[in-house]
Amino acid sequence: MSKITSLADLKKKREELKSGLGIRTKAIDPENVVQMKVAMATCGIASGARTIMEFFSEQLERRNVAAVVTQTGCMGYCYAEPTIEVKLPGQDPVVFGFVDLKRADQIIEKYIKTGELVDGIIPVNYQTIDLNV
């Protein structure tokens, strides 16, 4: 990692990163792959999020789905852990709760492959500020 030595440096870096948000390493266009986030705070991990994340990383590759699986913090839906967010190319992200291995399998086979929704969707009920400066 190279040092960031000035604010201009940081701004330049932000612009580079904004387009990819953590996906650069795969050197693929983030807009054309499935982006998945697994909520991995203590509550999520305690409810089995790690197993779910491993399952997705392994199975998406095995089933030839171009996808990026990353971890994130608490989404706030503790009652529905493990929770994941799936963003299909060109669509709004969808959050699924109570994800066990069976539902994880359905999510790949139904939602990701055919766009058919599966039970357990958590409607987003908040708005987030944008710091954009």
Binding site: I4, L17, K37, A41, G73, G115, D119, P123
Partner: protein
């Protein structure tokens, strides 16, 4: 890619479920089947929308139309009008309570704007172990702005003008605290982050540190620049291993990028952060006790003054802020004091994160503008009370706070309103209680916690709380008197007035507020020797209902102490002097012949 061109999302949350959302799903599917649309329109059950007041909810995607208070028989209209003809069913749309206009797009409904995420802006969005994602979300821009374009005085003024008050519980002005620390001259100063989250049921700080550790690091550096400190310390409890791990990763990544360390952004400003571990003592959340613990001394509070801003860590000026307080700072710097102070109430600006726990459907982490009412939090965001039970109370502020009852539901939540209602904001734990919770046992539970956590330095807290706990125990066992209730109250007031630190000064709050709001329940315990909620074992009596009992002997066989007698095929009898109230008989009985009196 999708074979479906439209999705009908039906809320399957507990509340909508009980108002026949299942039947709506069936009817919609039948209707679609009849019209031959099953292959292009999908009906799906979802989790709670939180809009339970207007449930059941049906949302049509992709056009984001929300239908409220839908009945099973409306399925036909929705399919025929909306799905087939593409016309919205006006009578099922949500009507704005003020303008009376129908709103179809959920994005414009006030309800879905109840939660506003400032502190949690990156939580559940970025990968907390990757600094690049934080930077892509404008991370460290605030630090850059402060170092290159603002004087320390300007930063302090901005924070002061924002009106932000400390989120640790006491609600002291953040800007003022910084100003005091800046004014005290010293060769060495310290910025301390208080991550010793100790309230039972609280997990706001842990979630922020696990989900967005860089926001806290960035804010600490900003604070360091403002008060003239180049050392930061995070005091975090060892029970938070994942938060510690992520903080370590974050600190290392920030150092590698030169965002912590020497000569940050080439401005000559130096700042670095180290971690200090606490052993999970509640009192160490108090800032003087926290500082002593960091110094390797016993975690005991000392009298203020001197305040940490004068003589804190190692006797040097020290500024202690809570995790949540820090996490909002970058947003305040970038978006401005004016923006922040436009959110919330006059005396409490901004948003507050709450951890919802207890008998509530949507247990979780929420962030709402100050001034949101308890009713909105519990019944709209929280999805209401579990298992259709009745709401009884809500404990805010953890063991230092109070329990608010139904009459407080419409109180707008802010620092001052909660105090006026007899509770406190505290760090933001909210424990919801339902009709099955006994308010004497509850007060005893919280006292048990404070007795355990009292450091023992001052007598009112060490001895007084112990006595309070004993009295409550006696009342639960049916050995209390009306005079004991007076004693409880008087002793509570004395402890509040005389204890040395915040722990003791607030520990009787649950007792006082519960006695205030549920006095009848306390009286029932001492005069009728009854526990209305059916929680206090000593006050319960298991009785056989002669009408239902068929004399099957199942209860007598399962009783571990042989308290049940009776011949086969005759009504049985439970001897209260032998019964240990284990409840095994009631569980075993197939005829509902045993009940609690």
């Amino acid at each position: 890619m999708s074979k479906y061109s439209m999705h009908l999302l039906v809320c399957g949350g507990t509340s909508c479920h009980s108002s026949e959302s299942d039947a709506i799903v069936c009817n919609l599917r039948d209707e679609l089947e009849a019209k031959g649309l099953m292959d292009s329109v999908q009906v799906i059950l979802t989790g709670c929308f939180g809009f339970c007041e207007k449930g059941p909810i049906v949302k049509v995607m992709p056009d984001n139309t929300i239908y409220v208070q839908v009945k099973p028989e409306d399925a036909q209209t929705i399919v025929e009008e909306h799905v087939i003809k593409g016309r919205k069913v006006t009578r099922l749309l949500y009507k704005d309570p003020v303008t009376k206009e129908s709103i179809s797009d959920s994005k414009h409904m006030g309800f879905f704007k109840k939660q506003l995420r400032i502190v949690l802006r990156n939580c559940g969005f970025i990968n907390p172990e990757n600094i690049d994602e934080y930077i892509a979300r404008d991370g460290y821009q605030a630090l850059g702005k402060v170092l290159t374009a603002m004087t320390p005085e300007e930063v302090i003024k901005e924070v002061k003008d924002s009106g932000q008050r400390g989120r640790g519980g006491a609600g002291f002005s953040t800007g003022l605290k910084w100003e005091l620390a800046r004014k005290n001259q010293s060769d060495e100063k310290y910025v301390v982050c208080n991550a010793d989250e100790g309230d039972p049921g609280a997990f706001m700080d842990r979630s922020v540190l696990e989900g967005d550790p860089h926001s806290v690091l960035e804010a600490m550096a900003i604070c360091g620049y403002s008060i003239g400190a180049d050392n930061g310390l995070i005091y975090i409890r060892a029970e938070y291993p994942l938060a510690i791990e992520r903080l370590k990763i974050a600190i290392n990544q920030a150092r590698e990028y030169g965002l912590l360390g020497n000569n940050i952004f080439g401005t000559g400003f130096n700042f670095d952060i180290t971690l200090r571990y606490g052993a999970g003592a509640f009192v160490c959340g108090e800032e003087t006790a926290l500082i002593h613990s960091m110094e390797g001394l016993r975690g005991e509070p000392t009298v203020k003054p001197p305040f940490p801003a004068e003589a804190g860590y190692n006797g040097k000026p020290t500024n202690v802020n809570n995790v949540e307080t820090f996490a909002a700072i970058p947003a305040i710097i970038l978006k401005g004091a004016k923006w922040f102070s436009s959110i919330g109430t006059v005396k409490s600006r901004g948003t507050k994160v709450f951890a919802l726990a207890g008998k509530i459907n949507n247990v979780g982490l929420i962030e709402v503008p100050m001034g949101t009412t308890l009713r909105e939090v519990i019944f709209e965001i929280g999805g209401g009370i579990r298992n259709g039970k009745k709401f009884k109370g809500i404990q805010t502020g953890g063991p230092s706070g109070g329990c608010l009852s139904e009459k407080h539901l419409d109180t707008p939540i802010d620092f001052d309103n909660l105090i006026a209602a007899g509770s406190i904001m505290g760090s933001g734990a909210m424990i919801v209680l339902d009709e099955d919770d006994c308010m004497v046992s509850m007060a005893k539970f919280f006292l048990e916690f404070t007795v355990e956590e009292s450091c023992g330095k001052c007598a009112p807290c060490r001895i007084g709380n112990k006595r309070l706990h004993e009295l409550l125990g006696q009342i639960c066992e049916g050995k209390g008197t009306l005079a004991d209730l007076d004693r409880l109250k008087n002793m509570s007031v004395v402890i509040k007035d005389t204890a040395l630190c915040g722990l003791g000064q607030t520990s009787p709050n649950p007792v006082l507020s519960m006695m205030d709001n549920y006095y009848d329940e306390y009286v029932a315990h001492v005069t009728d020797k009854k526990c209305p909620a059916g929680q206090c074992k000593s006050l319960l009596e298991y009785v056989v209902n002669a009408e239902n009992c068929v004399g099957c002997t199942a209860c007598a066989r399962v009783c571990p102490v042989n308290a049940i007698s009776g011949e086969r095929k005759e009504v049985h009898h439970i001897d209260p002097s032998i019964c240990i109230k284990c409840g095994a008989c009631m569980e075993k009985c197939k005829f509902d012949a045993i009940f609690i009196r």
